[in-house]
Symmetry: C7
Subunit: 292 residues, 7 copies
């Protein structure tokens, strides 16, 4: 027996060619993918800047001017894609060399196929997580520090991963959310927030008088020092929002900086109640009209 019966010179040359082709195509593909990724990210960034009306553009510019975040995302995408290309090309290269050497690949591939199907069924949610993660990264849906709403869990993003996203919710719990489980994602840090205040008063109060009182509160809010840095415009008293058997509800609406609406809502609620009490507007408590 002689090794040359196993590996001929022609085979050796063929193997060398395969190796070279694999390396070259790896190099070219990585370059190509990096360029495409960069362009996609750049486009996502441009699109963000020009969408919406002027007010939104102002706020958006504020949020997306972050050059550092852009570069970090480019780097992440680049390293992932070159890893994927390397692995895929290596597997194909090795299989081709084995084929040239006359190794019987059929049993290997068939058993891998059976195992692959078994695995594919179980791994489908894993693949889904990674694919969702890649697209969310490419589309720049959120970044570290944004306050997002993933449906069940809401909180501040601490880490953007390919498989899971790490959040910290307002109560301090750290959440690991699988990206494929995020069917729709709300980002509360891209734009503004809306403060909505519903003030309940007695059913039979005069709506006009209550609205006048609340409009005074709204003017006061515009000038209040402690709201100056969070309130984007004077709150509007939109009118009687609902009427139930005992209660008439007046609604105020105001735009604030992202995630600052809680503060504004509490300020308006406190001052509205005080002002209404001063003006003698009655509460909707059913027995509040008993002999006073």
């Amino acid at each position: 027996m002689d090794l040359s019966a196993w590996v001929s010179t022609a085979d050796l040359i063929a193997i060398a060619v395969v190796i070279v082709v694999t390396l070259v195509s790896r190099f070219l593909l990585v370059r190509l993918v990096r360029t495409l990724t960069k362009r996609a990210l750049e486009r996502a960034r441009q699109r963000r800047k020009t969408g919406g009306n002027r007010a939104e553009q102002l706020l958006t510019a504020m949020t997306f001017g972050n050059q550092e975040r852009y570069e970090q995302r480019t780097a992440t995408m680049g390293s992932i894609s070159s890893s994927l290309i390397s692995i895929t090309l290596s597997v194909i290269g090795i299989l081709t060399i084995l084929g040239i050497l006359g190794v019987p690949l059929a049993p290997l591939l068939t058993s891998a196929g059976v195992g692959g199907i078994a695995l594919a069924f179980g791994a489908q949610s894993l693949v889904k997580d990674f694919l969702s993660g890649m697209f969310m990264l490419l589309e720049d849906q959120y970044g570290v520090g944004d306050i997002i709403d993933t449906g069940e869990v809401k909180g501040t993003v601490e880490e953007v991963g390919l498989r899971v996203t790490r959040l910290r919710d307002p109560s301090g719990t750290v959440w690991y959310v699988r990206n494929g489980e995020i069917l729709r994602l709300g980002n509360q840090s891209q734009g503004w927030s809306t403060a909505i205040i519903d003030v309940p008063v007695a059913y039979d109060e005069d709506p006009g008088r209550v609205i006048t009182v609340l409009e005074a509160v709204s003017r006061e809010a515009e000038e209040a020092e402690d709201l100056a840095e969070v309130l984007l415009e004077r709150p509007t008293v939109v009118g009687v929002n609902a009427v139930s058997a005992t209660t008439m509800t007046i609604r105020l609406i105001g735009k604030t900086l992202p995630n600052q609406h809680w503060q504004v809502q509490r300020w308006l609620l406190e001052h509205s109640l005080s002002a209404l009490a001063k003006a003698g507007v009655r509460s909707p408590a059913p027995l509040g009209i008993l002999p006073g």
Copy 2:
């Protein structure tokens, strides 16, 4: 060893033929698809114009007269379809050339098959998102600026993507909704909105008298200056809508411009309450009839 043992002249000619055929068929297919896409979009646009009754046609014409939006959609569809055709034909062309060169494709394709199945399971929601997006674009279901209802999330469309649609909800949060997750889509900007007002009064008030009071309010609304630009017709007092143990509810209905019903509802609610109070109609509060 000699390269001519690898690649014969006949093979070279065959390869050239494959390349030419690929390029020509790419060119023809792109043209064909572009024409078909244009025709489909044009038809969707025509159909929209002639559907519904006259009033709807008026409103629809107003919304769909947007030539710019039509052209933008045509461009998007064209660039997507030519990309898809180029990629598909390139893959087939390369595989055919490799086959002519005698490269053993079996291991490559088998492993791709196994990996493909694994990927297919995980990527099915991705493919679903893209297909849904393409059809929603083709059918012109919504455009940038429309207020839509995707089931869980409602808001103004900021960007129509193939995979995700970007919305901004009324509270200012930006939502990324995957197109495949939109089972049914409601577009509130194609037509009109309906203002529905339910006025609760005491169970034992005379329904006829309450209806008379509210019809006066309705006439007043028709002539009110601040509603002139949003109210499409005089609101109708449809009658007693429900009766519970303590409360009789009278309903008013009115057509408004798209998404302007909130304003009309609040106006009607405020004025109805004032008018009823003036007319001495009692509230449904259980103890409201206590010694006054």
Copy 3:
């Protein structure tokens, strides 16, 4: 090298035969399918006319006498089926010709197979939508102008598509519902509607006396001019429907023209309340029996 080494005369004749066979079978299949479709639609139409009792037949005839709608449906089905047949036969014909020419189809078909599986997973809801649409059309479940209930969304049909159905709900929103998502479909325009009125009175009123009062209202409704065109028969006072701790509920039921029950319900509710008040029947309000 010579082209005749590529394509022999026998091959050319074979190709010609394939083309002729494809065209002939396309022609025959289209005819066959059109005839079958026509017959299925005709049968669905006949079946509709003879089902149900006499009263339903009357109403159904009214709805289905629409010759125009029948022809439109036939045309739609015919054009769809001939498109499908043309595409399928073309693909098979081209593959056969390529096979005769000795083009290596294996790589092409295998890669299409892998891609096909990947696509099939993602496109399954698309195929489902189209299949559901075709069957709903064949079975004539609804037409433009019908008021239907698709589970989540209810409204008037504006367009019957193969993939989506376009509805307009009562509040004016346009809905695009995917046909495959409609698990059960309710058509409110094929038949009549039922007005159901529940009148609450005090727990300890005499049920017989209340029923007498309401039966007078029911007779009045039969003769009322404003209900003459919508009420199909005199409403029935079916009796005491429920009793809770404080309330006895009497129910009235009446048949009306399709979707006209709201109007009848409101008329009956208003007149019932007036009549009961006149008759001195007390309301179920817990404190209504306090010293007045």
Copy 4:
């Protein structure tokens, strides 16, 4: 070139044999399946007659004595099964003949396979609907005119189809329910219905006295003329069914003809309230004990 190079005499004989075999086996299979179907339907019918106790047998016999319905079902099943057998045998026959003629079936079948998988995914709910329909027909779960409960939709069956069942619900809406979506089916027309009446009285009434009053009402119901044709037996006062903070609930139960329980319930409720009022039993209203 000569046709005999394409089709030899042996081939022609083989084709003739295939055609004869196909036709004969079609004839035999249709006969076999018809016999089996008949036997299955007959068995389902027998089983129905002998199940349950005597009272049920009486009612069941009444419902299933319908010879006409039985024959109609047999006819439907027979025509469906012979269609299916014809189509399947034709496809196999044609494929075999093409194979004998040397037509390259591989590309045809492979592409059909890929398309078949894509279609299979989308069509699975369609196949499921048909299979469910066939089994529901074979098991004679319901027929035209029965009142059934399909989970979401309840009503009278208007048409039993293989893919969808057409119902009309009590409010007049026509429902098309896909058979595969019916996970469990309740048939209210095979047997009897139960009237359940819950009478609320004050927490501190004497249960024994209330029961005595209600038992008198129950005896009265047995003798009432307007219930004579629907009430199967004297209603039973089963006792105190529940006690809450203010209310004691006494339950009556009675068997009626199918779907006639509403009428009986209302009769009993009305007469119970009258009788209790006469006997001075107090209502559970919290303030009912205030000085009157």
Copy 5:
């Protein structure tokens, strides 16, 4: 052409061998499966008898001593399994004979394969129903006459089928439940039932005094004649079960014969209320303490 060119003597002998082998193996397999089925059923029966504590054994023995039911189940399983074996072996035998005769099976099997996949997707819930039915039969989970709980539907079993189970619910409706949809099954006829009675009294009553009164009722129940045949042991007053703002709830628990707990609960509730009223324990009604 000569038939002997089609079928040689060797082939005829081979066919005969195949037929004999098929018949013999059918006979042996049927015997084997019948023996195994019998043993499995016998084991299930034994296991049932020896499980649980002594009291349960008593009740279980009572329920499972039914020799007739055991034999019926054995017969059902036997006939099903021999049908399945016959069909499977026939198909294999016919395919083998066709193979010997040189019939080209590939197109037949391939098309069957494509159709099989399409069918398999649609039929999976059918197969699931049958498999679930077989296992439920083998494990003897319930029999005709048992009261079972299938999740959505509860009632008395009227027929145990392989695909569906027929139930009759307490209101008289017949339910057809697909076996594969029963994720968990509760059998209320294998053992005992528990009567649970919650008696609400005023928040500020003395718990000790209330418990003493209820313990007297419990002793009374043990000696009551109308409960003698259903009550398995004296009910226990377990104590104060819950306290809300106005109500203290005392719980009694007692074991009864299967499905007889409603009767016991009503007896205890009625007598508890009477006894508490006699002892002057106040109800939890908030205004029950107003001046009477």
Copy 6:
């Protein structure tokens, strides 16, 4: 024709070798698997003993010291695994022998493949049930007599099966729960239980005084004879747990033996109410403060 043309001596020897190899490998595999199973079970048992803190170890040791249960589980696993190995090796052996004999296996295997896919879809929940059962047994999640919580159904385990688990719930119903449907399993018999008592008092009571009263009750509980065997430690008064418009809720927490917390909760509730009443603490009933 001669049988030797069918089976050569070499074939006979080959068959003998196959049989011997099959038997030997069956013997070796069974041994191997038994050893591995034993080791896994032993490890699960060890891990259980050393987990948690000291108090838990005490309780755990008490529960898991059961040598009998361990041996029974080992026996079950052993018999299952040897059955599986025997069946698998027999099938492979028979197929190999048939292959040696020249039986055409292709049609057999292909048809088995098509049928196998159809079956696999339907049987997937069956396989899932068995796999879940095997792992739950291996991990020793519960045993006969444990009180477990399977999500929908809670009760005492009566039989641990590979496909279903048999439970008896507190009301006496026997439940058959499929193992694959148990997504998470709670075992209440491995450790302790926690008694949680919420005592509602009037909003404006002094929290400090109420806590003092309840701490006296807690000390009393520690010394009470009827709790001596179930209470693991003195209950803690953790403080004011919640405040609503009318009610302040004080919470007590205490550790008890597994499933004995109901008894402790009722004892504490009863004594707390008595003690608070004695101390003059008012109830949260809204009208409890009316003139007494």
Copy 7:
């Protein structure tokens, strides 16, 4: 017959080569995977340390400084991966040797394929559990002793397994949660917890005065000895959080050590109520304003 006809010398050498290659590649792969695992774990650990702001880093460092836990995880991952590699390489090696020996692998692999598909469908949730477990371990989402929230079940981790995670919930029940069922995971031990206290007072109280009182309580809390070790900062009175018909709710928020917020909440609630009572702030009870 001669064994050398079965196994040639070349075959023996080939087998030896296969064995050597298998062993060497096993050794190399195990090393490689161990190194990669270590690096991934190390990176996860680093990332944790540098994420978030300074306060979080402090807390995180405290939690993740656990060297022992890190090493244990590395060991677990290493042993799992080397097991997997050994099994996979053994299977491939054996198949290759059998192939060299000329054993017909086709029937074996085909039957394994069919069985594999049947198994794959059933085992997919098993594979999913293991894959999820591996990734959760790699990403160091939680460790023994952490308090985690798996959606349905919350509690302290007792054992981190590859298939299931063992938890003990606060009531003492042990839960076995399958890793694949954990869609999102909340870890309450990585960071801090937030105490949120809502104090309800009467609608018409002066919000300013109530806030002043609560701020005094907040200062008190900062200095309280029993909170010194759990409270991270002085609680903030954020203002009026909500207003209903009868109630105004003031909210306090404070950061605490992980899972210590219950204690802080109860302390604040108790002291707030006392302070408000002292200050004469009225409760929101509807009748609390009646003449006392």
